[in-house]
């Protein structure tokens, strides 16, 4: 897993929309570190923000104390590629349902965000299950 690299940047944010800018700026800086182009970095910023927005909008119920609602991001700069993990300990969901909605042409709430993440990165992996949080892993490779 990318978490073991010395080039890992870990960022833990409050689950609040006013911190989306911090996530985007960090993605931009790490993308620059990974030698991604300006265009690649713009794509990456949207993908990372979409993952965080999904956490903000869907991961935690009102019964969870604000201090417990956190978004953890890990950025691992490689050789002309950047791996980003966006993780929460929220209520989770069934990733298969998102995929089914995509295949049938109906994208429910949050579906557009996953569509953008999929199109703007080179790899997207969603690990989640009801009650066990969510981890989204994206890889963005430099356009040569």
């Amino acid at each position: 897993m990318p978490s073991s690299s010395a080039e890992t940047v870990k960022l833990e944010l409050p689950c609040l929309p006013q911190y989306l800018l911090v996530a985007r700026l960090t993605a931009g800086g790490c993308g620059h570190r990974a030698n991604l182009s300006v265009e690649d970095i713009e794509d990456l910023k949207v993908a990372v923000a979409e993952a965080c927005t999904n956490v903000i909008n869907h991961a935690f119920g009102a019964d969870v104390k604000p201090a417990k609602r956190r978004i953890v991001l890990r950025f691992v700069a490689g050789n002309h590629e950047l791996t980003v993990e966006v993780e929460d300990e929220g209520k989770g969901f069934d990733p298969e349902q998102v995929e089914r909605e995509r295949r049938t042409g109906f994208e429910g709430e949050g579906g557009l965000g996953f569509g953008l993440m999929r199109e703007l990165t080179d790899s997207l992996k969603i690990e989640s299950a009801p009650g066990s949080g969510t981890k989204v892993t994206m890889v963005k490779r430099a356009t040569r």
Binding site: P17, L20, E39, E50, T53, G113, L116, E119
Partner: protein, 129 residues
Amino acid sequence: MRIQVRSQDDIRVCSVAGELDAYTAPELRDALDAVLAEGQATIIVDLRELTYLDSTGLGILVGTAKKARHAGGDLAVCCTRPNLLKIFQISGTHEILNLQPTLDEAAERIRQLRDSRGQSEGDAPGKGS
């Protein structure tokens, strides 16, 4: 994010500059809802000075376009930045938002839509007799 609303002929032009995300989007939604509440349903959203857009902003633009159509008007979006155009293309929203590169072309697009709607209403059975 900065929002300015002005009138151009019978069109309301809403210019948005800066970054449009889940934090700033409610401000744009309120501004566009206020325009619709005034009874103005013909709207151009000028995004030429917008530097960032994601699905939350897209959702507000599409929602406002539907409300404008329902109220008998139209919405067109003016945008030239490649990173934003890519988002419109990927999401498949460029047509419903009548995406145009300039204000003049956005206004012309709205006139075309209005004319074609008037024409089809005139062609409807029972009209004009």
